[in-house]
Symmetry: C2
Subunit: 200 residues, 2 copies
């Protein structure tokens, strides 16, 4: 440790929590909490359902492509190119949510869904998790099924081009940068075997 007294590693204790806003995507709570040294502070926290995303690796004649979705994002007022994903419904297994969102947004289905990692989208102000999955060799099999508020196009994009451009232009969704990092690490750990036999 180069600065501090070790209290950074200790949790605060919640003294009170009050819901101050609620919509269909998240709720906001105002909490009062006591730190490990006794100080008391007030903090706003968003509670939300978990989110799941899936990075689909598709082998083509020209190498690996990612199956991706392009859609307008209301927060940033920008069009965004992303990996398929969405909300994990209460009681739903995150892997099921990832496969379901893949099918709903693209019509593609994969027998191989691997867990690449689970992180917090923003642990400072949100309580929910962000689950990242890999889909190996998905194929077009079902009819898309979009929500009434979704206008989404699906595209196959060369994986190396996405890796190179990630963080720029249409590829500025931070959680997608995180997803790519964890997915590529997961696939690399499978070794040199072709994706189709990776788990057999």
């Amino acid at each position: 440790m180069i600065a501090g007294d070790g209290n950074g590693a200790r949790k605060w204790a919640m003294l009170s929590s009050r819901k101050v806003y609620e919509c269909n995507v998240f709720s906001v709570f105002e909490r009062e909490s006591r730190g490990p040294d006794g100080r008391v502070g007030r903090f706003a926290v968003m509670e939300a359902k978990d989110w799941a995303v899936v990075v689909p690796y598709v082998r083509t004649e020209n190498g690996t492509s990612f199956l991706m979705v392009r859609q307008y994002r209301h927060g940033a007022d920008e069009v965004s190119l992303e990996f398929p994903g969405g909300v994990v419904e209460p009681g739903e297994d995150p892997a099921h949510a990832a496969a379901r969102e893949l099918a709903e947004e693209t019509g593609w289905v994969s027998a191989r869904i691997l867990h690449a990692g689970t992180v917090f989208p923003n642990p400072a102000i949100q309580d929910n998790h962000f689950h990242v999955f890999v889909s190996l060799d998905p194929e077009p099999k079902v009819t898309r099924n979009l929500d009434s508020n979704e206008i989404i196009d699906a595209h196959l994009m060369p994986a190396d081009e996405i890796r190179q451009k990630m963080g720029t232009g249409e590829l500025r969704h931070a959680l997608m940068v995180t997803a790519l990092f964890l997915a590529d690490k997961c696939v690399a750990a499978l070794g040199e075997k072709p994706a189709r036999q990776a788990e057999s």
Copy 2:
């Protein structure tokens, strides 16, 4: 395009926006917007100040270390090991905010602050930006200056260990995964030159 009609690449138009919640960290707005095909929907959006983070590369006898901060995070109710960072104040240059947060949280100062990228923390529901910077060869020079609600320890952590563990345990802040990805890409683009001479 393998699915869709091209409307995923077109913006929606905001029809109305109403502030429904405000605290010192963010405000919530309920918006009504019209899609490119004419459909109208309601969306909740968080407006917040931009955030800046800095990945500090420190050369030690045992190779590169990252200067990192450990603190409790109220949203996730978890202790988190992160790169220094915080809010960009109105009118402040993001690079200044990164250097300021580095000094305030660790007491270390760097003459070399490089921009590694700017993304959206979550463009689906937030309007703000997340700016990622690299700090080369920072050194301990000033007294830390924490906010009244901050209890933060600073640590030097071996960079390769952080890269390997990123996404697990204390290293599950998604925005820090994004920061590491963009920072390492930025430093790799500097070439083989030692960090100290990278910009000279």
